[in-house]
């Protein structure tokens, strides 16, 4: 019954910067694969999809960037408040040795969980985290403390100056990774897919589309082309699966199911 709605209390909140917070929830998920997501209900407001950014004894962690009405309302939530959870949903990343993890912006959230899980399983992982500026990074101290993690920022306020694609080739050469797992803005993902495939890596991308039901019925999250449901067969897709996606890096559908005109 992981699919049913359960309300749970917020145990702790970490404020990383303006409009950037992580929420630790009291249960209710026993286990999940990194890359899977939950539908988060803010009673009286709305329900939206969020990646699991960590899961352990302490509870379920969600990391959120305020970008609109729902995520801004989430910033007002206090410890002790109830939030509703459905999930975990979807298919996560494969856990395999010698994987290069690349996250952009709030996209680092699922990679935080993936990195931890790989560590638990003693699989070797390298992590590249890219943000616009230092204030956009969740858990900066944590990422800074990781031995195999490289942080890049566009304005140089944290880590190296640049964008993630600037440093990938270097890491692949140094570390000899054979797989690439990435999450973040879709243009970045497309660039990483191209780069990864050029370098002969097995690529997995964590995509986002508008999600309403989370359980494979409403059809809003279906990619154009193969029609694959990101909430069930995704959100993580492999290179092979990505070949069936005709709207990759192009405008997606909105809440009405209509294709947007401009880029997302």
């Amino acid at each position: 019954m992981g699919d049913a709605m359960r309300t749970v209390r917020v145990k702790a909140i970490v404020e990383h910067g303006p409009g950037l917070k992580s929420f630790l929830l009291d249960g209710p998920i026993e286990s999940a694969a990194p890359g899977q997501f939950v539908m988060l209900w803010l009673p009286g407001i709305d329900e939206k999809p969020f990646s699991i950014s960590d899961l352990g004894e302490a509870g379920l962690e969600i990391s959120v960037k305020a970008v609109g009405p729902f995520t801004r309302a989430l910033m007002e939530v206090s410890v002790g408040d109830y939030l509703g959870i459905r999930g975990p949903f979807g298919k996560g990343f494969r856990l395999a040795d010698r994987t290069l993890l690349v996250g952009g912006g709030i996209g680092v959230a699922p990679l935080r969980f993936l990195y931890r899980e790989m560590g638990r399983l003693r699989l070797s992982a390298w992590l590249v985290v890219g943000v616009r500026t230092a204030a956009d990074l969740i858990f900066p101290d944590y990422f800074r403390s990781l031995p195999d993690c490289l942080i890049v920022s566009e304005d140089g306020s944290i880590g190296e100056t640049g964008i993630v694609t600037d440093v990938i080739d270097r890491i692949i050469d140094q570390a000899g990774t054979t797989r690439l797992a990435a999450a973040g803005p879709e243009p970045m993902l497309v660039a990483l897919r191209d780069l990864g495939e050029r370098r002969g890596l097995k690529v997995e991308l964590d995509l986002e589309r508008y999600m309403k039901c989370g359980i494979g019925l409403c059809g809003l999250c279906c990619v154009d082309g193969s029609g694959v449901r990101l909430c069930v067969e995704g959100p993580v897709l492999s290179s092979a699966e990505l070949r069936g996606v005709t709207d990759l890096g192009r405008p997606h559908r909105d809440a009405t199911g209509r294709r947007r005109c401009g880029p997302d």
Partner: protein, 307 residues
């Protein structure tokens, strides 16, 4: 060799199974995905004149052996839907496409029908029974005999040669009576049933309804007996082919609806419980049934339970 093909009025479907409206029905790509899995026809999400985002979340909730949904008729609008219909038809020539539609007024039903008809779907399915938009659109039109008659006649006029099905629920009194009104005003088929209720789920921690719309329609295995009965009732009332649906999750379930009087059988919620393989599984089960009973096709048992 038994065959699964059925004649639904003037239409011929390779399999009696139809993807229900509202399930994976907003884009040509998702409809094509289902078509590739063994559906004889697919139905688009109910479409209105203009794009609609529907209700805020939560909109779909699992309950005991079913779902409660108040998606709120989110849809890309008739013009965008026409593009999807055309794309689907060029990609999937052997699977029929049913275009579902709704309107906020009698006239709007006609307008939407006219728009959609231009894309030449194989059937227009008129949703007059959605139980989760009442707070905005008032009682479903099926509850109001005069409007029901007017909508049927108007859509029929705008549809040209395209057959028209009226989709009914059991939520507003005798469905047989409603079916009769549709038949008298020119409907070619009846689709039954839409979701039941509506119902409500309350979270006992936050002490409020969980669906943002407060109430939503019930679907899935738990409504099967209600669907069987409804189709039985429609079959007794009118002499129109029936697209039966509501809770079908196996070939046994499909056969119950067929024996109650359905010619084609819709599948919606069970896609959630059983995945997209369900269409092929039910097809196989139906073929096995035909072989075991030594029947040529399903028309031989359509309505058989009426004795």
């Amino acid at each position: 060799m038994p065959s699964l093909a059925v004649r639904l009025g003037l239409l011929r479907l390779e399999s009696p199974l139809v993807l229900a409206s509202g399930i994976l029905g907003v884009s040509a790509s998702s409809l094509a995905l289902v078509a590739s899995r063994g559906a004889g026809a697919v139905t688009t999400k109910s479409c209105g004149l203009d794009p609609r985002a529907g209700h805020p979340g939560p909109t779909v909730l699992p309950v005991t052996e079913g779902l409660l949904n108040a998606v709120g008729l989110s849809n890309p609008g008739a013009d965008a839907m026409c593009e999807e219909i055309r794309e689907f038809k060029s990609r999937c020539p052997t699977t029929l496409l049913f275009a579902s539609l709704f309107g906020r007024t009698v006239e709007e039903f006609g307008e939407v029908a006219a728009h959609l008809a231009a894309a030449e779907p194989d059937l227009l399915e008129v949703n007059v029974s959605c139980p989760n938009v009442s707070s905005e659109l008032g009682l479903p039109f099926e509850a109001k005999s005069k409007e029901l008659a007017a909508i049927t006649a108007l859509v029929k006029k705008k549809a040209g040669d395209i057959p028209v099905a009226l989709k009914l629920s059991i939520n507003w009194g005798p469905i047989g009576e409603q079916a009769r009104i549709c038949a008298e005003n020119g409907a070619d088929l009846i689709t039954a049933i839409n979701t039941v209720g509506p119902g409500m789920l309350i979270d006992t921690n936050v002490m409020r309804p969980v669906l943002s719309n407060q109430v939503g329609g019930l679907s899935g295995p738990c409504i099967l007996p209600l669907a069987v009965r409804a189709i039985w009732e429609v079959r007794r009332s009118v002499d129109l082919p029936i697209i039966g649906l509501g809770g079908v999750a196996s070939s046994e379930d499909a056969l119950q609806l067929i024996m109650a009087g359905a010619t084609a059988v819709g599948i919606g919620t069970a896609v959630y419980h059983q995945g997209l393989d369900l269409f092929e599984r039910v097809n196989q089960g139906l073929l096995r049934f035909l072989a075991e009973k030594g029947l040529e096709d399903l028309s031989e048992v359509c309505g058989a339970a009426h004795g």
